[in-house]
């Protein structure tokens, strides 16, 4: 039995400091009993001889220097996991909040261990989402980490819900499919929206939720995704399941990290975020993937809102440097009433190249995607020119490009929340809209493929 400590030296934001501690270990979990009734959890974040700094998960309010006792647990934070997690709802500490109790034989360290690159299997199987802009131009691969970069008020939740709804049907392993949902700092109604959508698409009993709402303690925002990813690893790598992890909102997560960092008076780097934000985010995102000695996989769709729609803000920026691409939603397209408003030009799927083409999707996929990107870039230039000199005065060829641009947005991008297009349909629409520009412009496509598919 470990000692209890009764007297705190200092309370500072989410941190408490106590001294005279004998046997604390770095990263150890503690239990804090406040005023003889309430229990809070904390984690050792610094040791200086007998002086220990503890980060308190549920916040320090209510704690005074004399009214609490601290008990050390002997190890880092662990959560219980079993197959019973499916269909359950937990808080950011991994405790069930849906009324029922929860017991599991084994407990798992939420910190996770880095995957050895030698132990990974490179992801190559594509997931059909039924959304043309994603399947055709930023193809999602099983085991990929592909975030949605969005802005306040844009329909990222709808896009994520549509992916969940439609991705589950495709592929071989429908029975082995499950969803892990991590909510960090989102509003109650957003969490409800996801619950309802899971229910409507009949997957609720296949969803594990870890929920930390906007008014829940911010320190738990740090553990929420870690609990969720630990559950995902358990299901994927111990039970060979294909797991789709939705993590939202990564911006709130990073803000929580910043708040704690500033309470610890650490040297800030860009916009007040700590210098280790990159490594910290990587310790979450890199937990996606496939490993050699398991049949399961973890596919991550993190969602983040770009403050001010600014893609250079540290959270989207560092995320883009770690994840395997990004799907970017655009306010412009949203205002034009296009759903899903995916701005394809800055969007990217880095794993797409190995999961599309002959034997995967269709032989023409790589070339035609390339051509659509190049043509749509040109559309942007012509639109800018037409703004200046007027649409009548641009050349005939440019007019054809504008027509292509229009069709691209109305026929390919735009689809309803209910529409679930297969990859053939998506590729055929791409050929159809490229018909608006002359064959000679299609320099990115193999001539043989043009012969076979061009519908000008």
């Amino acid at each position: 039995m470990k000692l209890k400590y009764l007297k705190l030296d200092r309370i500072d934001g989410p941190l408490i400091v106590l001294s005279g501690v004998k046997d604390a270990s770095y990263d150890e979990m503690v239990d804090i009993e406040v005023a003889g009734k309430e229990h809070k959890k904390g984690r050792v974040v610094q040791i200086n001889k007998d002086k220990v700094v503890i980060q308190v998960f549920q916040g320090t309010s209510g704690i005074s220097l004399g009214n609490s006792s601290v008990a050390f647990s002997g190890g880092p934070m662990r959560i219980p996991l079993s197959m019973e997690v499916l269909g359950r709802v937990f808080n950011g500490m991994g405790e069930p909040v849906d009324g029922a109790g929860f017991y599991a034989e084994n407990k798992y360290d939420i910190g996770g261990r880095p995957i050895n690159p030698v132990g990974r299997k490179y992801p190559r199987d594509y997931i059909q989402t039924g959304i043309s802009s994603i399947d055709g131009l930023t193809t999602l691969i099983r085991g990929q980490k592909l975030p949605i970069f969005s802005g306040d008020g844009l329909p990222h939740n709808e896009v994520a819900a549509q992916i969940v709804k439609q991705a589950k049907i495709s592929g071989d392993a429908a029975a082995n499919f499950a969803i892990v949902f991590a909510a960090m700092g989102i509003k109650h109604d957003e969490a409800e929206y996801f619950k309802r959508q899971f229910e409507l698409s009949g997957v609720l009993n296949k969803v594990v939720m870890y929920i930390n709402l906007a008014d829940d303690p911010i320190v738990e925002r740090i553990t929420t995704p870690r609990c969720a990813l630990t559950a995902a690893e358990y299901l994927a790598f111990e039970h060979d399941m294909h797991i789709l992890v939705i993590m939202t909102n990564m911006t709130s997560y990073a803000e929580a990290l910043r708040e704690i960092s500033s309470a610890r008076e650490e040297v800030p780097s860009r916009k007040g975020y700590p210098g280790y934000l990159y490594s910290d985010l990587a310790s979450l995102y890199e937990r996606a993937g496939i490993i050699k000695n398991s049949k399961g996989s973890i596919t991550q769709i993190p969602i983040l809102t770009m403050p001010n729609d600014d893609i250079t803000h540290p959270v989207p920026d560092l995320t883009g440097f770690i994840t395997e691409g990004q799907v970017i939603l655009s306010r412009d397209l949203f205002q034009k009433n296009i759903y899903p408003p995916v701005n394809i030009l800055p969007s990217l799927s880095r794993l797409m190249k190995d999961g599309i083409g002959e034997g995967y999707t269709r032989e023409d996929h790589p070339d035609i995607a390339n051509q659509v990107f190049s043509a749509y870039t040109h559309v942007q230039e012509i639109r800018a020119l037409a703004q200046v000199i007027g649409e009548e005065d641009i050349s005939d060829l440019d007019k054809k490009y504008l027509e292509f641009g229009k069709q691209f947005e109305s026929k390919l991008l735009n689809q309803s929340f209910e529409s679930n297009r297969n990859i053939e349909d998506t590729l055929n629409i791409m050929w159809e809209i490229l018909g608006a520009i002359p064959k000679g412009e299609l320099t990115r496509i193999d001539p043989g493929l043009i012969e076979k598919y061009y519908v000008g």
């Binding site: 040791i47 001889k49 880095p114 050895n116 780097s269 860009r270 000695n293 920026d317 005065d393």
Partner: protein, 605 residues
């Protein structure tokens, strides 16, 4: 404190930075083992009896009072056969071996393992008893991989008379194969490996001038912004602009003898991709698998940050070791920004005064010292060798004004600036031809003149001029449209399109276009030049741009990279002929009759 070689006890723990007391015995930069799990660490500062250590593994679980054990030597790597076609972490621990003995996840407390101690190597001794050998002398060789003959060399600062030579045969790396009597009349045993501290450059006889290109098979690099053997290059770019793919392309196709590839704080899957792909790729020159000449160092973004800081030095030390054998090494570091961030994180935890953007004040000097380890040299044994460093830089927000990009720019000679808008339009490699430069163009001119053509560098300059001109014209086009420009200027725009799509763009995944010989590059340049000259002549003769831009011919030129393979380069001469035939007859038509000859002109098409 008194048991064995304990050299202190932990008093302070804050992530990867810890402090020990009663540590008088520790030396600066010494390697230590910490706590029950014997985590590997390094002494980074000493103040009276207190030492600050950075720990190369996860520190979760460390306690006040945990023991610090001295190893008596600085953080070093083992250098010997077994490095090539292998993969290590940032402090040379073998990831393949760790995977085989454990799970897919990396545990901590693996200890100080590196190259395989048990594997037997077929050794051929090259010295005799009585020989006098000195630093750098080769005393034995072993075929390390089918591509690389590994030379065992007398370590720096050592020399003496050979007193014992083992017979040729199969030995593990710890076996003594040669003994010498050194100057102090002391016997020194030489096995199949030596150790070297990673932060100290290995000595050479002298540095030589740079005069040979590092041929990469990438048109935009070889033709416009060449790299040099022994030189330095940086590839800065925001996320998704193509740093990693460019590094992979160089690792695959550049004409170095050995590739050291450091995945420094980047994605796990990118290392896995190399591990899966490289063994299958056959080097066109040697017909051997590329993995035979490659060593990978992986300290991915989620692996301990202190080992990420060390990985750059581990990599360059390995490179220097093979350079000393007389090889040409290309070392890729993806990404040096993650290394700089590791420095920043450690510096922050050490509570040092931050300079720009929280980076420590010594960032510029550390960067300079690293790039300084690139050179074309005469080795201690008198052979030639080189190290070329190619570092990726990941500027926050894609903004090149940040400290890592700026300080790197000051010390490297080739700057391959990647551009977001090119990447958005899928113009790959997204190397911006206006902002990039190579400081080696002048010194390499002689080589290009002699080995490719006297004309190549001139064509290079001419094409760059056309692209410059295009840039100016596009400014006008943005305001008034293209139709207003005179036809000779519209030709510049059309030719620029050909250059960009047909030459600068190069698809890393296309089987014929991924790697292009300098000969083909040169021929392609002459085709584009012929098209420009012939077409320009017609415009001067009065032919309108609509006729001059013959779709069929332009299409053939743009797609020549795909349609003409390395074996059929003479097809490019035929293409030039075809170009001249078409334009000469077009020109004639306008010269003799002027515009009244419309019917005849339309027949030409």
């Amino acid at each position: 404190m008194n048991n064995g070689n304990s050299s202190g006890k932990l008093v302070f723990i804050n992530g990867p930075v810890v402090k020990a007391e009663n540590a008088e015995a520790l030396k600066m930069r010494e390697m230590v083992l910490v706590g029950n799990k014997k985590l590997i660490g390094e002494v980074v500062s000493i103040e009276s009896d207190k030492a600050t250590l950075q720990i190369y593994e996860e520190t979760s679980g460390l306690k006040w009072g945990d023991e610090v054990v001295s190893t008596g030597k600085p953080l070093s790597v083992k250098l010997g056969p077994g490095i090539l076609s292998n993969i290590f972490d940032g402090i040379e621990r073998p990831l393949e071996h760790i995977y085989e003995t454990g799970s897919a996840f990396i545990p901590e407390g693996i200890g100080l393992i590196s190259i395989d101690l048990n594997k037997l190597w077929d050794i051929h001794l090259t010295v005799n008893v009585g020989d006098y050998i000195e630093e750098g002398s080769v005393y034995a060789t072993v075929q390390e991989t089918s591509l690389i003959l590994h030379k065992l060399m007398v370590p720096p600062k050592m020399s003496g008379k050979v007193t014992f030579v083992e017979k040729d045969g199969k030995y593990n790396i710890e076996h003594t194969v040669v003994k010498i009597l050194d100057k102090e009349e002391e016997e020194v045993e030489l096995s199949l490996y030596q150790e070297w501290p990673i932060r100290t450059p290995r000595p050479v006889k002298q540095k030589r001038a740079i005069e040979k290109p590092l041929i990469t098979g990438q048109r935009v690099i070889d033709t416009f912004f060449p790299l040099a053997k022994g030189g330095t290059a940086a590839i800065p770019g925001g996320f998704g602009t193509g740093k990693t793919i460019t590094q992979h392309q160089l690792a695959k196709w550049s004409d170095a003898d050995i590739i050291v590839y450091i995945g420094c704080g980047e994605r796990g899957n990118e290392m896995t991709e190399v591990l899966e792909d490289f063994p299958k790729i056959i080097d066109p020159k040697s017909q051997k698998s590329l993995m035979q000449r490659t060593v990978l160092l992986a300290n991915t973004s989620n692996m301990p940050v202190a080992a990420r800081e060390a990985s750059i030095y581990t990599g360059i030390t390995i490179a220097e070791y093979y350079r000393d054998m007389g090889y040409h090494i290309a070392i890729m570091a993806d990404s040096t920004s993650r290394w700089a961030e590791a420095l920043r994180e450690l510096s922050g935890r050490l509570e040092e005064m931050p300079a720009e953007e929280g980076y420590p004040a010594y960032l510029p000097s550390r960067l300079a010292q690293f790039y300084e380890r690139a050179a074309y040299v005469e080795t201690l044994s008198g052979t030639e060798g080189s190290i070329t460093i190619i570092g990726a830089v990941s500027p926050a927000g894609g903004d090149f004004s940040e400290p890592v990009t700026q300080n790197t720019k000051r010390v490297v000679s080739t700057f391959l600036a990647l551009d977001k808008s090119l990447a958005y339009s899928r113009h790959y490699p997204a190397i911006n031809w206006h902002n990039s430069y190579s400081g080696y163009v002048t010194v390499l001119k002689e080589w290009y003149d002699e080995n490719i053509s006297e004309n190549m560098m001139e064509l290079r300059a001419k094409i760059l001029r056309i692209l410059q001109e295009e840039r100016k014209l596009l400014e006008i086009v943005k305001l008034v449209g293209e139709d207003i420009l005179p036809d000779d200027q519209r030709l510049i725009l059309e030719i620029s399109k050909v250059i960009k799509v047909g030459y600068l763009q190069q698809n890393a995944y296309h089987k014929d276009d991924a790697n292009v010989s300098l000969n083909k590059q040169y021929k392609m340049l002459t085709v584009i030049d012929s098209l420009y000259e012939a077409a320009n002549e017609c415009i001067r003769a009065g032919a309108p741009i609509s006729k001059v831009k013959n779709e069929d011919i332009f299409y053939k030129v743009i797609t020549m990279k795909y349609t003409v393979s390395e074996e059929n380069l003479e097809l490019l001469d035929e293409l030039i002929k075809e170009i001249y035939e078409y334009y000469i007859s077009l020109g004639k038509m306008y010269r003799k009759g002027g515009a009244q000859n419309e019917t005849e002109i339309s027949k030409i098409r």
